[in-house]
Amino acid sequence: MNAIAVLRQTMWSGWTDLRIVYTPTTWAFGWMVRVLCQVVFYSTLGALLGDPERTRFLLVGAAVFIAVNETMMASASTTWERGSGTLSLLAAAPAGMVVVLAARSWFWIASGTLSASIALLALAPFFGVRLGFGDSLAAVALILLTALTNYAVGLCCGSLSLRFHRLRNVFSNITLLTMTAVCGVMVPTSFWPIGVQWFAAVFPAAHGLEAVRLAITDAAPTAVLAEAALAVGTSAAWLALAAASLWWFQTNARRTGSIDFGD
């Protein structure tokens, strides 16, 4: 198979999918309004607590996690293949379901990075977070890294969703909210018992977020790079898990005949 051609085709399909989900109007006035409200919702908790330091912590966490939120939607969009009846065709195609499904939902990475970056940079001044040009660049780059590395988690949920179609939103939402709770988004990971902290370390998003926090507080570059490396490392493990899960789904479905034409 011509891998490049396949990739190019599927990424193009993914782009057209995005245009169906969002028009520029609905993205700007629908999705971005929600994103901004979501980040403000969490950031104002700091005002409720009467603690400016908390406010800054919450703002950064909430904004960066928008990227995580969006890449989790790969869970649902993976199942669009099933809905549109193309799954059976993919299973039969030589390109391999894994590569195609991974490439198909790539647009969430782009959309997530963009909306999270806008949220962070636009709202930072209102919540007492000062970001110089260098800090802003670093933040955006690390947000992209967070989105990329979390994508593997989204794909994993997607592979489960292919099998349990009805529960697709449940999987992605529970995973997202669990990460939001324990990965240092709203409270530092040290708040939780040690067992939970180890659990949180499994998620790329925890490390991506920590990298952003370190970068904008002018921590040592080595510290930032260490977190980035951890994000990539854990992401590779999730990617392997997603691939294994998709492969298992494919073989299982071939055996039980659960991939239907026009399912």
């Binding site: 999705w31 929600r34 919702f41 005002a47 529970i174 909210l177 709770a181 530092p188």
Partner: protein, 259 residues
């Protein structure tokens, strides 16, 4: 409105059946406990035990209004695609009543979120929230439920003609949580937003609900309850009027499909 009450009850019963047929509609009752954990972690970490009631109330309110709004869209979307919406328009029952029946059923079921969040506080964080003023709480809750149902009807009316139902559904939740003062009282919002939020019944309702949980006496209860009920009624009137107008527009343009 003579023979409308059977339509209301039939729509409510239909919706309860839908929960059984499609459990995905109960998603927000699954996510509410997670939000409770998230918000409680913030208040506990901040050493503010007095804010624990806020953290338990907020996810319940979010689940209720979230479910009403999401299901409002789903309901219309489903009926439109199945060609049932226009069948409803040929019957004597007003569309607003059918919508109200469905969304009222959702709202009643969504109140289970309160129990869930209370349990998360009690079992997960050892925080037991007492209802200091039970009567105030109960009355306010009933009024809030009415307002939530009315908001759902208003949203559903909009979706009658809207094309991008799905995209806007997802976009409504957090703006409503914010303007409704679900967690942070609207008094803490910038003045422009606070004024806007005062038109939304939920901002009054959440303030009152929080006060009913606090030991201090509740100030100006009856006027504030009247504000909640009045705005809820106004919301329903707006939803009813809008659905009437949009149906008339649909009739003029012929944009609802037939056989």
């Amino acid at each position: 409105m003579r023979n409308s009450s059977p339509a209301f009850w039939a729509a409510a019963r239909f919706q309860l059946g839908e929960f059984r047929r499609d459990p995905g509609t109960l998603l927000m009752l699954v996510t509410a406990p997670f939000f409770a954990v998230i918000l409680l972690s913030v208040t506990e970490h901040g050493g503010r035990a007095d804010l624990a009631p806020y953290a338990i109330l907020a996810p319940a309110v979010m689940a209720s209004i979230g479910m009403a709004v999401m299901e409002a869209g789903e309901t219309i979307f489903r009926d439109r695609t199945a060609g049932v919406l226009e069948a409803i328009l040929t019957t004597p029952a007003p569309l607003a009543i059918v919508l109200l029946g469905r969304i009222a059923a959702i709202t009643v079921v969504s109140l289970a979120g309160i129990a869930e969040c209370w349990l998360v506080g009690a079992l997960g964080f050892g925080v037991v929230v007492d209802v200091a003023h039970p009567l105030v709480f109960a009355l306010t809750l009933a009024a809030t439920a009415a307002g939530i149902a009315a908001t759902g009807v208003l949203m559903a009316a909009v979706f009658v003609v809207g094309r991008n139902v799905r995209s806007f559904q997802n976009s409504l939740t957090f703006p409503l949580y914010l303007l409704g003062g679900a967690m942070v009282p609207v008094a803490m919002l910038p003045s422009g937003f606070e004024a806007l939020s005062r038109v939304f019944f939920l901002s009054w309702a959440t303030d009152l609900l929080r006060d009913s949980l606090a030991p201090d006496p509740v100030a100006a209860f009856w006027p504030r309850l009247a504000a909640v009920l009045g705005l809820a009624a106004a919301t329903f009137a707006a939803g009813s009027w809008l659905s009437h107008r949009l149906v008339r527009r649909v009739r003029r343009n012929g944009t609802v499909g037939f056989a």
